[in-house]
Amino acid sequence: MKTSSLLKVNALALSIVLMFLASCDTEKNLSPADDDYFLKYYGGNGNQYGVDMIKHPDGSYLLLGNWETGENERRIYLVKVDLNGDIIWERKLGAAGSIENAKDIEPLATGDFIIVSDHHNGNNTDVKLIRITSEGASIDSVVFALSGNQVSSSVTPISDGGFIVTGTTSSTEVLVNPDANISDIFHYKISNTYGFDSIEWSKQNGIATVDYGTKVIEPTPGVFYVFGSSNLSHDADPTITAGKINLIYYELTSFGVPKAPSFLGDPDIDTKSAFLLPVPAALGSGFLFVGTETPTSSSINLHVSKLKSPLQFESHSDELFDSSLPIGSRKLVAVSSTASLINDLGYLLVANELQDDGSTNIWLSKINHATGALLWSARFGTEEENDQGAAAEELSDGKILLLGTVGLVNNQSKMVLMKLNSTGQLRD
């Protein structure tokens, strides 16, 4: 074989090799997977449940959850994560061996955070507040050991530096009408003036046999709106107490005394409150009130009400829309909501989808901000295990963070954070 022929063959072979090496996938031409979308599990020994999520001033996110180790310990689990879902730090709050159930975390003007949880002392369930630094260190905490069981829903930092906690109580020893009522709404104010452990006023609202407190909002200093649900009949006749459960909202006097409620939803359909979202100015301000509607025993829908601000406490004047959101024949239980300000303006609704076998999946829907019409929906989880949604946040690029709990096949539950694209898909 001639040298020139050999050289040609070698040159050809080398060219081919170089061409394909140039097309080789390397770390340089693949963007990090977690930049685009991710699913991350958090926790360790035992079960961990996602509850709430809040943006940290430094751009990261605080994830609030519960860490259950066996039947005799359940503690608050707090995780700070970066935008790739990687843990910056993680903490357990509460004493070893305690049984607590975190419910809500809110930012404070000081840069700290307040957490409300249910504290079980063996006999009763009490409300516990924990103030933490932005790095998760506990500053102080207090358990309000009032009579009976108090199950919290949320905590609201208010303008005087204090807090209002609301929830539901069901102990006959504290119900407004223990002979008739099953549950009452409670709301009490902790004033910064009197110290972190001092209740300035504590009120209950037992207007019907079944009342649930969801959230208190302070739209202007000293004015408090309460959102919840009750089976009080719509004509507000206190003698009729066996009506359907409906969404209600009412104002408190400066001493926490409830005024007459206004109603939302169909009076003939049970609609239980789940979440109250103060609507940002970019979406016209006001309030988005989310609940779960049960038209029939086999049908469960989301219910969404958009209310103007300030409230007139006349439903027809206040509501921009008040609508049921059936999605096929699915059974959806509302959990939380957040505003969506990028791309299509709207709201993200987090829910749990009930399966026929009793298990649950995480559900996320987006609705139009002006009409409440459904834009898209997404489901996460598998058929057999219990997967539950907790909270959602929209990122500045339109992508979505979704917090929840996923049941693994080996009987573990883990707190999970997903980064989704702007249409709720677990991909770029």
């Binding site: 074989m1 022929s5 063959v9 050809l12 072979a13 081919i16 090799v17 394909f20 090496l21 097309s23 996938d25 770390e27 693949l30 990090p32 997977a33 977690d34 979308y37 991710f38 699913l39 991350k40 599990y41 958090y42 926790g43 360790g44 020994n45 035992g46 079960n47 860490w67 180790t69 066996g70 689990y77 990687d86 843990i87 730090w89 993680e90 357990k92 070893a96 998760g136 096929g328 999946n361 929906s377 997404a378 489901r379 996460f380 989880g381 598998t382 058929e383 057999e384 295990e385 997967d387 693994l408 096949v409 080996n410 009987n411 573990q412 883990k414 898909q425 677990l426 991909r427 770029d428």
Partner: protein, 386 residues
Amino acid sequence: MRSSLAAIGFLLFSFNVLAQDEDCEQTLSRALQEFQSGHFYSIPSILSPCVDKFTLEQQQRASMLLTQTYLLLDDPIGAKRSYLDVLKANPEFVADPNIHSIDVVYLSKKFTARPLFSWFGKAGTNVTPIRVIQRNDLFGNDRFKDSYKMQPGYNAAVGGEIYPLDHIVFRAELSYLYATYQRKLWGYFASNVDNGENPPLLLGDRTTVSERQSWINAPVTVMYEDDRGKYRPYGYAGYAPGFLLRDMANITIEDIRNSEGGKDEKESPALNFITKRNRFNQSIVVGGGVKMKFGLQFLFVDVRYNIGLRNIVNTNNRLADYTLDPEGEPFANSSSAAFSYAYADDYFRVDNLSISFGFLQPLYKPREVKKARTKSVLKNINSEEK
């Protein structure tokens, strides 16, 4: 002349083969006697009755005798025709200057029986090294560890070779490759997160993923080989496009110290990972082996390394298959690796190391070459004359 006669005599008696046709063997002996007696003109007519009856070995001897005869009769056309018959009888025949006359050697340089094409089949076993491009996981912490383990697979191929130049072979084949490997992850839920201290890494949760891939590859290689002798080593390099036919995986997840102190272990059914993969792959192929001549065929052993070039993980479908209805059960099943077993793939390339054993059948075509390589023979003639 004397040396030619001696060579032919040696040739005829050195073949240790029994004649299948006794008459034709006698005919061949008589032709040789005539040749040795110098009666060249009668030889073609003596041999002609047996032309269609010779065995291949007899045909080779007869054609060689005729070649020598025509060379002596100064009939180059007859000599060429007869030498072609030698090559048809034995395509691997090579004139040897130590045995054959120089004019036969010279003539032989004008011919070749080198095959234009060979086909082959081979089968063997392989292992699949995984080269991670980017580590991905589903854990917020970085305390876990993982490793890949090669497992044996099998492979089979059919293909062909063409021979454009001496020692150079272009080989193309179609191969089926069954590749398996295992990935283990552990320690990912080992934390107790007490007092904010970084806890020690504990054994505990452990995931084992056993993946089985079926590939069709079509390697095209350029080979350099030794084309003489019984044992012919070769080496090659090339390019192999590949298509993933099937990809199934089983995932086992264990929680050794669960909250009740017992051990929970669950193994998945066979999960279809095909939608999590980029089905088209490319590889650089390097390899080598030895061909062993076996009659006019070859047996060979081939060792090959495929260097995968592409990330085979579909970056957009690695957690769920969005070609399915996101609200349906098949979609939920497509995400079960992530949601039930807390598993997601790294971005990775797939290499493959295989050893195969094969059979190669050359399709010989004796022919006169356009450009005879007779310089070395002429040089020898000149040196002999001096």
